[in-house]
Structures are given as structure tokens and as C-alpha cells.
Symmetry: C2
Subunit: 344 residues, 2 copies
């Protein structure tokens, strides 16, 4: 059975995995593989927020931005997603991925892209951009037929991997965690250029997760179990993190729905959250009743259906160094993203 | 905050703990401390089984045995407990502890003790004896006022410990796990001396847990939550392990009640189980819906009551080398203890 860690990123461990070498997970999962030519990836969030029923300007902004993510942009994958935040604002986020930092910079500096950003005055908008080196992310997919997000950008898939279906497996899938405890360092630094323009400098080893589910392929009893039993406990956990996450190290959480350019919701959702450290993320997921309820409900469903599930579950996790994060907010309300953490 | 590992048993780690050094558990817990004069402990199980309503002979056996565990025996603590096993047999188990191997051997070789064993003909009875070195056990207690089991035998208590309230904390509390993965080695060996006399040689790193709860001090809402919400899911988990545990590496499981010599049940119960390895025990507890339900229900209750609980929870875990185990069955039915694992 293969490791989740892409072979060329394997090194002698100074930090043991939690599992024994003969551990066999109870159901299969796969990871994206990293091509040796890739040194860093870019996962960018271009958000635009508004209050009230008129989404016209926000959609115009998102569509214009998405139109620039053409073949010339070298973006490897793009999602458009929507959520309602803790202040009741609707938010659209365009999420392009690159596997080449230079291509990302070329795109961001294009005149048309700059013009769209400049033309967003009057709309709260933000950029949250992660540019991790390849040792600083991991991915996991429950189905063999399709990947999402970063996996689509990386395009290659592993054989079945060993490090999953146990607590601590996220850490065991990180190349850098072979030798690094990933403890947080420093603190958030806020630079207020103008009342409506705030830059946030992230500290060392902030952890970020995009954790998704695709219930489009499900039917019958599985669909009912997902919609009636899993989704409500998932939503309760997402709401808890959004509203009370600060107490357990969660800086921000969004429960998002992937949508079409015309606003049509797909049957794909995901959580997007920022954490003080990977350890904080682990502790919440392992001990908080809301997450144990999610995990326990899923395991019960998996066992009831003999883990022969059509439901697709996936995630990507990043643990980023200070120079691998960029957060900028223009005209956004004070509880947007990292702004919520700004000392009052 | 102190480590669960008694200071003189601390050594340089080659295997990292799961937690960061600044980890702070959300509620307190304590461990027993090991006096430097203690090299090994003895945890013995003298069981007697019977079918049907007449418990007279079994109680006579247990009372006679318990009467020998007097001051001269140097036993540090004794419990008497009852369970009904997978074949429907009632079973009484006398559980004495020693902190000195020589004292245990002196007691076992006493004429009165030998006579009681010899006189049990006609009753199925067994000895399951663990004699671990001090690096090979760990304990945890949720309350400051009292210890149970091995903690009573060891008699000394730690300050509040850091390694608890997360998955993997059992392993992090083991002195030997500072440098050892505790992987299982070898296999069970059965020696059938006569149809009614079977000896079982344990393999390397069998894991054993005694995990208890004392609801005597609870009242009001907490008592209701324990009896109505926790106990039923606990029982379901215990039944699962007893009847279907083999599939996840559990050799045997007993859900036991501590009773008085007159048979009166106390408000203390515990699970007693044998596992192929600590990793198997970890994986069941972390991933099986029945145990997640137990843990999640407890955490929910803890949070609801702000972790100000009267309920006492405790456990002791052993991971034993081949020479630290002794299992012997006389006249017992074929599903008793390790006999269930005998190739048919």
C-alpha cells in the first residue's frame, strides 16, 4: 500500500507516523500526486461581499474575474462558490489554482485583471492567497473517479494510500511533518492603510482546510442519510466554528456551496477555515462534540452501506509559512475573514 | 503542567508525543505515580464461572480466595467483580494487585491458596495474570479525590497531567512508548494438557485495558445523563466488542460490575479487554461508531456541565511482553477468555 506522500518528497522521518507499518485502512482513499517539476502551488480566494437581495454587481465582478482565468492565465482549475457570513453578508469567491508561481504573478499583473480589481470600488472585496511549497499541503479523496480543487490542478492521482481513516492522518500525510512539528510561530499583524484597506500578515504555520462533499452521485438510502442525518450535523459544526471557533483556535470558517456562473447551486459544498495551527484543527476535530457527531454519523453510514458509497468526500489542507500567505481586505465589514481577529 | 510519566521513568524520546509542548487539556486528569522501589506490578484475575441460578459454590470459592488476601498476602488492593459472558455464564472475578512480584509468588504458593484452587473441581475457573514492568502500564483518573484499581495499589498520585483528552494520549502516557512503537510480535500458543486444562501463551505487546466509571457520587441531571444517555451507548460498545471484537483485534471483552462479597452491586462498573496490540485498541476507539458515540456523548455531557462532573472515570492500560502474561483455564467452556481464539 502506498504512502500519501509523493515518492520524491519522502525523506527519513524524525517524527514517526501514528500507524504501524502493517496498518490497513478499513476503506480506500487516494491523494493527488505532485509532479517533480512543481515547487509551489497557488490557491487564491477572490471574494466579493454584499448585503441585501441585489447580487448584480457582485456577480458581474465574479464573472469578469472568472473570464480572465482563460487558457492564457495558466490557471489549472477554478471554482466559484458562495456563502453567507457571520454578519449576514452574501459572499462570492472565485478560487483559481496554479502550479506555477510565475504564471500566477503574470495573471495578477495583467491590465484586465487589475482593472477589474480597481473597478470594484463600492463593493467589499478581498484577496486571500496561499502559495505553499509542495511539502506544505496534503490532499485526500474518497473516490477513485474524480478529484476536486487542488487535485484537479495537480492532475495526477496516487494509488490507494495508507495514511487515512484515523485521527492524526492529516499530519501523517504532510511531507514536511516527516521532520517538523508544525508549531505556530509569531502572531497576526494588521496594517491599516486606510479605514477601508487592511492587510494582514499571517504568522508561521497557520493551517487551512478546504473540506468538501459531493452528493450529486448519491441516490436512495445513501442520499437520504446524507441530506437528513449528515448534512444537519455538518452544518451545526460549521456554524459553531464560524460563531464560536475563536475559542479553539479557528480564525474563520465558511460553509460554502459551489455554484455556476449563473448562480445555480451544484450538489457540492465545502468548509473553508483558517486555524492558528494544525494542532488546533486536530484538537477540534478529535474532541468537539459537533465534529465527533459528523465523523461518527459518517462512519455509521459507511458501515451500514459497507463503505460502498457514492458520496464523494475530499479535502486539501495547507500549513503555510509567513511568506506563503497574503490577506488583503478592501471595503469589507469588520468581521470579514482575518479582520475579525484584529484587536479592537 | 506535569507529564503523566513518573519522573524517574522519563527518558529522551525517539518517538514524539502527538501534542505540542504548550498543549493545555480542556479539563483536568491525574495519573498514579510509581514509587522508584517498584519494578513490576501484578494484576491478577481469578475467575470462576457457572451456568444457572445457583451461585452458591462460585461465591464460596470467591469468598475463600478473597479471605486469603489478608495483610500477610501483601496485596495492595483487591476488587471483586461480576459479569455475564458471551455464552451466558455468570462469572465472578477476584482481582488482587501487588507491587512486588515476590509477595505475589509467596501468596500463590501458600497452602490455603493452593487448596482453594484444587478444591474448585466441578467449577470452571481461570487465572489471567499480568506482571508488567513499570514502563509497561499507564493510568488516568478524572477526579482528584480517589483512585481505583492499580492506582490504589500504587497509592501515590501525580499533579494534573498534560497527556489526556486527545486520541493517542494513552500511548503518550506509556513510559516505554517514549522509544518503542509497541507493535505486536508472535502469536498466541495454546497448550492443551487435558480436555479441561488449557494454558495460553500470550504474544508480544498484547494490550489490556481496565476502563471504569463510578456514578455513585452523581445526582440530578448528571446522574440522569449518565444512566439514560451514556450507559446505554457504553453497553452497546461493550456488547459489540464481546460479540464482534475479533474483527478489530479484540481478543475478549467483559463489561463488569464491582460487587460486594455478599453480591450487592456497587455503582461502579468497568470494561476489561484484551487486544492484539495497542494500535488495534486505538483504532477501535477512534473510529468505531460505538466508541465514538460513547466519547461524543461524554464530551457533550462534559461541556453541558462545564466539565464540573461528579462522575468518576478512570482506566489502567497494560502492554505486556510475553513473560509478563499467564493465562490458564480449567474446566471452562470453549469461549472463555483467550480460549475463544483457539484454532478449532
Amino acid at each position: 500500500m502506498d504512502s500519501s506522500i509523493t515518492p520524491h518528497l519522502v525523506c527519513p522521518r524524525t517524527r514517526a507516523r501514528r500507524i504501524a507499518d502493517d496498518y490497513a485502512p478499513p476503506y480506500p482513499a487516494w491523494s493527488a500526486r505532485v509532479d517533480p517539476s512543481v515547487e509551489r502551488v497557488v490557491m487564491a480566494n477572490y471574494g466579493v461581499q454584499w448585503l441585501g437581495p441585489d447580487a448584480t454587481k457582485a456577480f458581474a465582478y465574479a464573472r469578469a474575474l472568472q473570464a480572465t482565468l482563460d487558457a492564457d492565465s495558466d490557471a489549472r482549475h477554478v471554482d466559484l462558490a458562495h456563502y453567507i457570513d457571520e454578519a449576514g453578508y452574501d459572499t462570492l469567491v472565485v478560487q483559481p489554482y496554479w502550479t506555477d508561481m510565475a504564471a500566477f504573478h503574470r495573471w495578477e499583473q495583467r491590465d484586465d485583471v487589475a482593472a477589474i480589481q480597481a473597478g470594484a470600488a463600492g463593493l467589499g472585496h478581498f484577496r486571500e492567497i496561499l502559495t505553499p511549497r509542495v511539502a506544505r499541503f496534503e490532499t485526500l479523496y474518497s473516490s477513485e473517479d474524480e478529484m476536486e480543487g487542488l487535485g484537479r490542478a495537480l492532475a495526477q492521482r496516487s494509488p490507494m494510500v495508507q495514511e487515512h481513516a484515523y485521527w492524526g492522518s492529516v499530519r501523517d500525510r504532510f511531507p514536511i511533518a516527516q521532520t517538523d512539528a508544525l508549531e505556530p510561530g509569531g502572531q497576526l499583524v494588521f496594517t491599516v492603510d486606510a479605514p477601508d484597506h487592511v492587510m494582514v500578515r499571517g504568522h508561521g504555520n497557520i493551517a487551512v482546510i478546504r473540506s468538501g462533499q459531493d452528493w450529486g452521485p448519491t441516490g436512495g438510502e445513501e442520499r437520504r442519510l446524507y441530506l437528513d442525518e449528515i448534512e444537519p450535523v455538518l452544518r451545526a459544526g460549521m456554524d459553531f466554528l464560524r460563531d464560536e471557533g475563536a475559542g479553539c483556535g479557528c480564525y474563520a470558517n465558511r460553509y460554502m456551496r459551489i455554484i455556476g456562473l449563473d448562480g445555480t447551486p451544484s450538489e457540492k459544498s465545502f468548509g473553508w477555515s483558517y486555524w492558528r495551527s494544525l494542532a488546533d484543527m486536530e484538537l477540534w476535530s478529535e474532541a468537539h462534540p459537533t465534529h465527533l457527531a459528523i465523523f461518527g454519523t459518517f462512519m455509521k453510514m459507511g458501515q451500514a452501506l459497507n463503505f460502498d458509497l457514492k458520496l464523494r468526500l475530499w479535502h486539501e489542507v495547507y500549513v503555510v509559512a509567513p511568506d506563503e500567505q497574503y490577506y488583503e481586505y478592501r471595503g469589507c465589514h469588520a468581521r470579514t475573514g482575518f479582520l475579525k481577529q484584529m484587536p479592537g
